[in-house]
Amino acid sequence: MTGSILDAARFIGAGLAMIGAAGAGVGIGLSVQGALGGMARNPDAYGNLLTNMILGIAFSEAIAIYCMVIAFLMLFKVV
């Protein structure tokens, strides 16, 4: 086994950064749950709800994407 302790710290840091994705997963699940409930109660609002649901998913997914960007920065020695 060769390699510096800095490499080990980079890998651990990248793993820790991705913990933030858990929150985004919960957020996406909640927004889809709400939208599906609304669609089941009022099928006419399907199109409108779908648009807003995807918008909400995009915003909560953005958090997970920022986590991933940080993980990539650590993993591939960009900074």
């Binding site: 199109g47 409108n48 779908l50 648009t51 995807i54 918008l55 995009a58 997914e61 953005a62 994407i65 920022y66 991933m68 960007v69 990539f72 993993l75 591939f76 960009v78």
Partner: protein
């Protein structure tokens, strides 16, 4: 009613191919492709260089990109020919023209449902183009030969070289594989370019539909002197919208790139782990199943990219002025 007995022989072909790939992969152990963040250079010398921007290299995601563009153009040509032929004869679309008409009608109705009939013709071309282009770029990655055929490169901490491909004396530290072809959307340049186009055109469509009133979204000075405290709050929220536009570029680009990159990492890592844990025969049946998952992810991500473009554009066309007009109408 007499029901015809179905003979689903095609699924047995798929299963046979999976078992065949398992056996062949057990005999000729494949080398693990290099997992790199950026695309690898095929030629070390730059193709040409521009004064300010810098040198341009032929990386291994350029050939699939050219192939994607060619495929889209060829498809457009044949669709156009088919539709013109049907317009001259009996107005019944057939073949590929019919297929594309059904597909585009579906997504046009979706656009119209969330933007209204007046703005839909402005937004729809961007939605459809981005979605179609991203779809082809994502699905081209699944063709056999992508990310698996290439040159072996000697590295310090690589994987053991496969037998049969190299001379026995050459095995030193380890090798990894630099593939000739890499999916176009696994290159961050591609996704950033699409994201920039999408966000820039969102601003253009906003100005086109609302005039310069669109900038009140960012510099909201209308209530600044009427109600001082909340007006200032509105102004600060408007400034946050500028940051939101820039974060859209990042999230657009990294959403597509992250999903596609996760695909190649998954296909490379899971079989390696499985063959290390069990035996080298078992590790080779999984990639075909992971490829099915990749098909799903590619279609979904192309749809999401186009859909989000459409939703942001639809949002940009609806200004605050219209909302206030609605509220006033309600009060009256």
């Amino acid at each position: 009613m007499e029901t015809e007995k179905r003979r689903p022989w095609r699924r047995w072909v798929v299963l046979g191919l999976m078992i065949f790939s398992c056996i062949v992969g057990g005999i000729f152990v494949p080398v693990q492709p290099v997992i790199s963040f950026s695309a690898e250079k095929l030629i070390e010398q730059p193709l040409f260089s521009l004064p300010v921007i810098g040198p341009f290299y032929l990386v291994n995601s350029i050939p699939p990109l050219i192939l994607t563009v060619l495929l889209v153009v060829v498809l457009a040509f044949f669709t156009n020919r088919s539709l013109q032929k049907s317009a001259q004869t009996d107005l019944v679309p057939r073949g590929i023209g019919n297929l594309m008409e059904a597909f585009f009608e579906l997504i046009y109705n979706m656009t119209e449902g969330s933007t209204g009939p007046k703005i839909a013709p402005i937004i729809f071309p961007w939605f459809a183009t981005i979605m179609f282009y991203a779809l082809f770029a994502n699905l081209l990655k699944l063709i056999p030969g992508f990310e698996s055929i290439g040159l072996l490169r000697q590295v310090a901490q690589g994987h053991p070289a496969p037998g049969g491909f190299l001379q026995p004396g050459e095995v030193a530290n380890g090798y990894d594989l630099v593939p000739f072809l890499r999916g176009a959307s696994v290159d961050l340049n591609f996704t950033v370019a699409l994201a920039l186009i999408s966000v820039f055109m969102t601003q253009v469509i906003g100005i086109q539909t609302q005039g310069f009133g669109y900038f009140f979204k960012f510099f909201n000075v209308r209530n600044l002197f009427k109600v001082p405290f909340f007006g200032a709050m509105d102004f600060l929220v408007g400034l946050l919208e500028i940051i939101s536009e820039f974060s859209k570029i990042i999230s657009f680009a990294f959403r597509l790139f992250g999903n596609m990159f996760a695909g190649i990492v998954l296909v490379a890592v899971i079989p390696t782990m499985l063959s290390a844990a069990l035996s080298r025969w078992t590790g080779n049946i999984l990639p075909s199943m992971l490829m099915m998952f990749e098909l799903f992810v590619g279609v979904i991500q192309a749809f999401v990219f186009g859909m989000l473009t459409m939703v942001f554009m639809a949002q940009a066309t609806q200004g605050h002025a219209q909302e206030e007009a609605h509220e006033e109408a309600h009060e009256i």
